[in-house]
């Protein structure tokens, strides 16, 4: 766990073979054979696109590859968590065993291990739970490490996604599963119980902004995995800018996607991506 240094990404995008797409409530887990990849650091992502019929969908899209966190590594396999919310994700959800997938990566700066033996609190919302799964795997490789998992979802079908991690406390917007209310209410309780923690969060922008504000107020270090519309994933397009504390912008792809809460003024409500 101590050495989470990322190797340079291969310059060539790789043509990978789909092993399967499994339902996980409202989500899909896309599994691809990925033997050659440098081992990704938790929080890193890949730019992925179907090798066939990428384009010609709704509104003559998709065109750009899509940025996805690497949700999990198994021997020779990479997993991605999908939710069908637009023409790109729709096409990815249609993939079947044997289909081809273009992948460039692993890209970006991932999570960093907790210091000073702090408890790790993983806070994930919706499809944003993906990078927390590979993070939980890495953290729990150290048996001494205490890990708390808090996951929030809109409804029961999405809450089934909690099975991607284990031992999670769940909150839902509609109260159908677990705590009826906001994920940050669970986080607040945990920080009250023991604030000697390192928070790792990924999810929709309003959730990340609430986590950022709470951790900043309580002086708890937080690493936020951000999402932003990006064309390339490797610093070329400058599309994925997010406001930096003190002025200017950070590029989510090369300065992140994992960015310390202390580096951000706020998490932009517009931080959406082409879906």
């Amino acid at each position: 766990v101590s050495d989470w240094a990322a190797a340079p990404a291969p310059l060539q995008r790789r043509l990978l073979t789909v092993l399967g797409v499994e339902e996980l409530g409202a989500y899909r887990v896309l599994r691809v054979a990925d033997v050659e990849t440098p081992e990704p650091r938790p929080g890193q992502f890949a730019m992925i696109a179907a090798a066939e019929r990428w384009g010609g969908g709704q509104d003559e899209r998709p065109y750009l590859a899509r940025a996805f966190s690497i949700a999990r590594r198994r021997v020779g396999e990479s997993h991605f968590l999908l939710e069908d919310v637009g023409p790109g994700t729709e096409r990815l959800c249609e993939l079947r065993e044997g289909d081809g997938l273009w992948a460039l990566g692993p890209l970006g700066k991932g999570f960093r291990a907790p210091t000073e033996r702090r408890r790790a609190i993983l806070v994930g919302g919706g499809v944003g739970i993906a990078p927390l799964a590979i993070l939980q795997d890495a953290l729990e490789a150290d048996a001494e490490r205490e890990v708390t998992v808090l996951l929030g979802f809109r409804d029961a079908a999405r809450a089934e996604g909690a099975a991607l991690l284990h031992g999670a406390q769940v909150a839902t917007d509609d109260g159908s599963v677990g705590h009826h209310g906001l994920l940050t209410e669970l986080l607040s309780k945990e920080l009250y119980r023991d604030s000697r923690a390192q928070v790792y969060a990924c999810g929709p922008a309003p959730m990340l902004e609430a986590v950022r504000a709470m951790c900043t107020t309580r002086d708890v270090p937080a690493q936020l995995a951000l999402e932003a519309g990006m064309a390339c994933g490797f610093g070329a397009c400058f599309g994925c800018a997010v406001p930096k504390r003190g002025g200017g912008y950070l590029r989510v792809c090369v300065d992140g996607p994992v960015i310390d809460a202390s580096e951000l003024e706020h998490v932009d409500a517009h931080a959406g991506a082409p879906a």
Binding site: P8, L11, Y63, M230, A231, C237, F238, V254
Partner: protein, 306 residues
């Protein structure tokens, strides 16, 4: 035997070419602002120099003062392409010369062959002829810069019209710049004007060594609740959606001027590059497609040579 001049008819589209006195390994370069070689080197490591995809490297646009760029969102995926409203973030002239230029020069020296670096073309933009001339004069002083490209898709502060959209204004601005450099001077034409060939002729009359086109087409997207989606209001369309527009404009400009033409717009494969070359382009630039595949320009160059 000397390499065929880019722009002149040549037996094959592959192999080394001469462009404005520069020797290039092949005909494929990048569009300005579509490949940050410094960031890419951090991401991909030493492999980037070993397998550098471009025969010349065009910097992103440099302005006199630093710019943070436009507020997000900066991108919109359109039918067969994308709209960007990036806003030309850069460190300003001084920051570029002090921080970026040495890094670019080192990378391009490593990427070159036989002791010759991959030529660096620095792209500059100003809102007046005076500003542009200052930028050009500063570039003239630096041996690491092989050529200068003028981004004239900038509104005139008085008229609000893009400098490059008005042939008379463009001719004056290019003249102002021409006085300050002996390096090859390339004018990046805007497609957002009524008569692009007239602008190309104006650039040529003022002493430009080459013209490059097309820049992005002015475009807009609305947010689901109404109002502009892009933080900058409107943006520029690129990608395969503009390929046929690029071909028409490159063909019209190549018929109108004698100077070299760099053609770009929606190039995804060697066949698209060949079309632009057939239409009169001496060099071809790859832009948005590099976002989808960082090595695609190298693959196109290899296919042109085959």
């Amino acid at each position: 035997m000397s390499a065929p001049a880019a722009g002149a008819a040549s037996p094959g589209a592959g192999g080394p070419v001469e462009f404005c006195g520069l020797r290039l390994a092949h005909r494929v370069i990048n569009g300005s602002g579509t490949f940050d070689a410094i960031a890419a080197r951090r991401v991909f490591g030493a492999a980037l120099a070993r397998e550098f995809p471009f025969a010349a490297y065009v910097s992103k646009t440099i302005t006199l003062q630093p710019r943070a760029g436009n507020p997000p969102p900066r991108l919109w995926e359109a039918a067969g392409g994308m709209i960007n409203s990036i806003g030309l973030p850069n460190k300003g002239l001084d920051g570029y010369l002090a921080e970026d230029l040495p890094q670019l020069a080192e990378l391009l020296a490593e990427a070159g062959a036989d002791g010759a670096p991959v030529p660096l073309i620095t792209n500059v933009m100003g809102s007046t002829g005076e500003e542009l001339a200052k930028l050009v004069a500063a570039c003239e002083q630096r041996a690491e810069i092989a050529a200068i490209e003028l981004n004239v898709s900038c509104p005139n502060v008085k008229t609000g019209l893009d400098i490059g959209a008005d042939p008379r204004q463009l001719e004056q601005v290019v003249r102002d710049c021409r006085e300050h450099t002996r390096k090859p001077l390339i004018v990046k034409l805007t497609p957002n004007t009524a008569d692009v060939p007239a602008c190309a002729r104006a650039a040529e009359a003022a002493g430009a060594d080459a013209v490059s086109l097309i820049n992005t087409l002015r475009a807009m997207a609305l947010a689901p609740g109404g109002g502009p989606w892009l933080g900058g209001g409107s943006g520029g369309l690129s990608g395969p959606a503009i390929r046929v527009v690029a071909l028409a404009q490159v063909a019209a400009v190549a018929r109108s001027v004698g100077v070299s033409v760099i053609g770009m717009g929606g190039v995804q494969r060697a066949a698209h590059a060949r079309d632009l070359i057939d239409a009169g382009a001496g060099l071809v630039a790859v832009g948005s497609e590099s976002f989808r595949d960082p090595m695609v320009a190298g693959a196109i160059a290899r296919e042109l040579a085959a």
